[in-house]
């Protein structure tokens, strides 16, 4: 994985000092809260219902053991012994004290971590495929491109106060595991007919109140024009994105209002101009970054068989591991969704244990997924049982990846000042309703996603079953929708009808699974059956 050089270290250290100075000016009263707010947001510091929340960047979701370990220590020292992994492949701490923030950031800097641009109206942390470098189906590892973009977007002077936040995702395989087309810019690394690598650009996707799937805006950008093209996309948005209404300020609205073709025309015009400016890093820089992402030293003679005689281990292997490109290895996903637990939460001890396992059994690498789980990307099959036992002993071996219990949920009204309804207790109730492993197995793959407000941090538009919490005359109410997906077959979920109470929505989800099981043909997943039979049979069962 990427290692900082002296320049990267210096940039992060400078940022820590800049932020320390901003906090000093805030505490001394030189800055009002209104003036301080955009500044702290650009450094990942939110003011929530009860305390400050600090969001730490995990670029493209990749972490070393030492980084993960420190995240556990930060949870103990500056929070209440927990960290919360997010749908943006980051981690959040919910109980941070303002005056301690610069010190926490300084500690993070010792392991090459930071909170730069994890919020605010700027280019956010770049997300990517959590299986990058391990997946059998990727063309190349997408992370060098994400790292190149990370450096370009860090403190980019022209794009620090955009109309609204800006999220970029880079993938390099046909299977989209990162919801690429639901980003402001999605980039897919592809090969053209001549066999050359390039970047396919999508723009104007997003969730929020107006969910949109990004259209393709260019099928091939040569790698030595990647930054220049990105800059053209951003400049058109910075100049013409709406600033009169924050709910219409994302690039998706600009692309929608201009129309895809007109946006493309403007970007191409700006791109032609910017090509005359010496702003593109040389390919040698991409090569330098790529050298950090070579394969680890896989053992070519690692045995490829697994002893599955232990039924509990077998179940976990079936549910939570994925084929690796290297024989003898697997990708193991650690579910942070224990039955009745808070999705994405891990205790400091659990975080440090995962760090240790990453160090000892996964070439010192871990990943965070947008589904709020942790991945050990390169585990020898021969070590898998040992890893599982260690996870099991720490409550981290729930065998429910992509199943009904593997719920994505935003922090909701328990923490977030924007929320209209609680998400976490609802996730816990659904998880408990489907606690039986037999029931989960019968239902199979079913992605449930819950957002506590229309901003859609819980990705409810992309859920096979999506749930949106709303405020209805002072009462929490939940809207149910079906048929969303974030995969290569990206689709947006449709609302079923009138909303429910918290218990009512749990009942409705259960009824929906019954409709699925009664109608399922062959190997159909919930989503496939829904797409085939449509909304009506579900509606009848839920509202009938």
């Amino acid at each position: 994985m990427y290692k900082y050089d002296e320049y990267d270290h210096q940039m992060v250290a400078t940022r820590v000092e800049e932020f320390r100075d901003q906090v000093r000016r805030r505490i001394s009263g030189e800055l009002t809260e209104d003036q301080f707010k955009p500044l702290r947001l650009q450094n990942g510091l939110y003011l929530q219902l009860h305390a400050y929340m600090l969001r730490v960047a995990i670029p493209y979701g990749t972490l070393s053991g030492a980084q993960m370990h420190l995240l556990g220590d930060i949870a103990d020292k500056y929070d209440r012994g927990y960290g919360h992994f997010t749908t943006r492949q980051n981690i959040q701490y919910n109980w941070i004290k303002l005056d301690q923030t610069p010190d926490a950031l300084a500690e993070l800097a010792t392991v090459e971590m930071h909170a730069i641009q994890t919020s605010g109206n700027c280019i956010r942390n770049i997300s990517s495929d959590q299986f990058a470098g391990a997946a059998a189906d990727e063309i190349v590892d997408p992370r060098p491109y994400a790292e190149l973009l990370r450096q370009w977007s860090s403190f980019h002077p022209e794009f620090l106060v955009l109309p609204r936040k800006f999220k970029i995702c880079v993938i390099a395989s046909e299977t989209d595991r990162a919801a690429m087309r639901l980003h402001d810019i999605g980039i897919k690394i592809v090969r053209n007919d001549a066999g050359e690598l390039g970047a396919q650009f999508y723009a104007g996707g997003g969730m929020g109140r107006t969910p949109m799937i990004a259209p393709m805006i260019r099928d091939f950008v040569p790698l030595d024009q990647l930054i220049t093209f990105s800059e053209a996309c951003l400049r058109v948005y910075n100049r013409y994105g709406r600033r009169d209404n924050k709910y219409k300020a994302r690039i998706k609205i600009l692309v929608h209002e201009l129309g895809r073709d007109e946006y493309v025309r403007q970007v191409e015009e700006e791109f032609a101009h910017l090509l005359t400016q010496p702003i593109e890093p040389p390919l040698a820089e991409l090569e330098r970054i790529r050298a950090h992402f070579t394969d680890p030293a896989f053992d070519p003679s690692a045995p490829d068989d697994l002893d599955l005689s232990d039924p509990d281990f077998r179940l976990w292997v079936e549910r939570n591991t994925t084929a690796h490109k290297q024989p003898g290895y697997v990708i193991a996903t650690i579910s942070l969704k224990p039955i009745g637990g808070i999705p994405g939460d891990a205790s400091a001890d659990q975080i440090r244990l995962m760090a240790q396992l990453g160090r000892d059994y996964s070439f010192d690498e871990l990943r965070v997924t947008h589904a709020q789980n942790i991945v050990l990307p390169h585990v020898r099959k021969a070590d898998l049982h040992t890893v599982w036992q260690a996870l099991d002993g720490a409550g981290l071996a729930t065998p429910n990846l992509d199943m009904v219990g593997d719920i994505i949920a935003c922090p909701g009204l328990d923490y977030c000042s924007l929320a209209n309804a609680r998400s976490i207790p609802l996730a816990q109730k659904i998880s408990q309703r489907f606690a039986s492993p037999e029931k989960q197995a019968e239902i199979g793959e079913l992605k449930v996603k819950i957002s506590g407000c229309i901003n859609a941090c819980g990705h409810h538009h992309a859920g096979h079953i999506g749930i949106l919490g709303v405020d209805k005359k002072g009462l929490e109410n939940y809207q149910l929708s079906f048929g969303g997906s974030e995969g290569a077959d990206t689709s947006l979920a449709r609302i079923t009808g009138p909303g429910f109470t918290e218990d009512g929505v749990v009942d409705a989800v259960e009824k929906a699974t019954q409709v699925y099981l009664a109608n399922k043909q062959g190997e159909e997943r919930f989503l496939d059956t829904y797409r085939r039979i449509g909304m009506d049979p579900f509606k009848e069962a839920i509202y009938g």
């Binding site: 050089d5 320049y7 210096q10 940039m11 400078t14 000092e17 800049e18 100075d21 901003q22 000016r25 030189e30 003036q35 955009p38 500044l39 109206n121 450096q151 370009w152 860090s154 403190f155 980019h156 002077p157 022209e158 794009f159 620090l160 106060v161 955009l162 930054i227 400049r235 910075n238 100049r239 600033r243 101009h273 400016q277 010496p278 702003i279 593109e280 890093p281 040389p282 040698a284 820089e285 330098r288």
Partner: protein
């Protein structure tokens, strides 16, 4: 008129009243023009050689359109004074410089010590803006 608090030019300061972008085209004597956030800086390109001062107004520092306006003018070869006016705050100063601004007239004068820290904060930068004369980190990593 608000005082220019910081200026990074050796030539004489221009104090002509700045006209709007819309009226600039009809006023062939005007040498100073003021860009509002919604204006298209490229409208000035045909007449760049007769402009001595461009003011870019930031009614709120959180509206970042002025950064693009500045860079567009510099990219087109504008060499006159480029002045940031309005809600100019300490934490913007370094970034404004990088986009080509060389004069600053904040509505509320800034603390000199804080400003001085802001000018000198970043020894290195990740990007080439091509208008700030700075060598980005990638160029230092790969000397020609």
């Amino acid at each position: 008129m608000v005082e220019v608090q910081f200026r990074f030019r050796d030539d004489e300061a221009v104090n002509d009243p700045a006209v709007t972008v819309d009226s600039f085209a009809d006023q062939s004597n005007a040498t100073a023009v003021r860009i509002e956030p919604g204006d298209d800086a490229r409208a000035l390109l045909p007449a760049l050689d007769r402009i001595a001062l461009v003011e870019v107004n930031f009614p709120a520092w959180t509206d970042g359109r002025g950064y693009s306006s500045a860079r567009i003018l510099r990219e087109a070869g504008y060499a006159g004074e480029l002045r940031a006016v309005g809600d100019v705050v300490i934490d913007m100063l370094g970034h404004l410089r990088r986009c080509g601004f060389d004069a600053f007239a904040p509505d509320k004068p800034l603390n000199e010590a804080d400003a001085s820290a802001a000018w000198s904060r970043w020894d290195n930068v990740y990007q080439a803006t091509a208008v700030d004369g700075r060598q980005p980190i990638w160029a230092k990593r790969h000397p020609a």
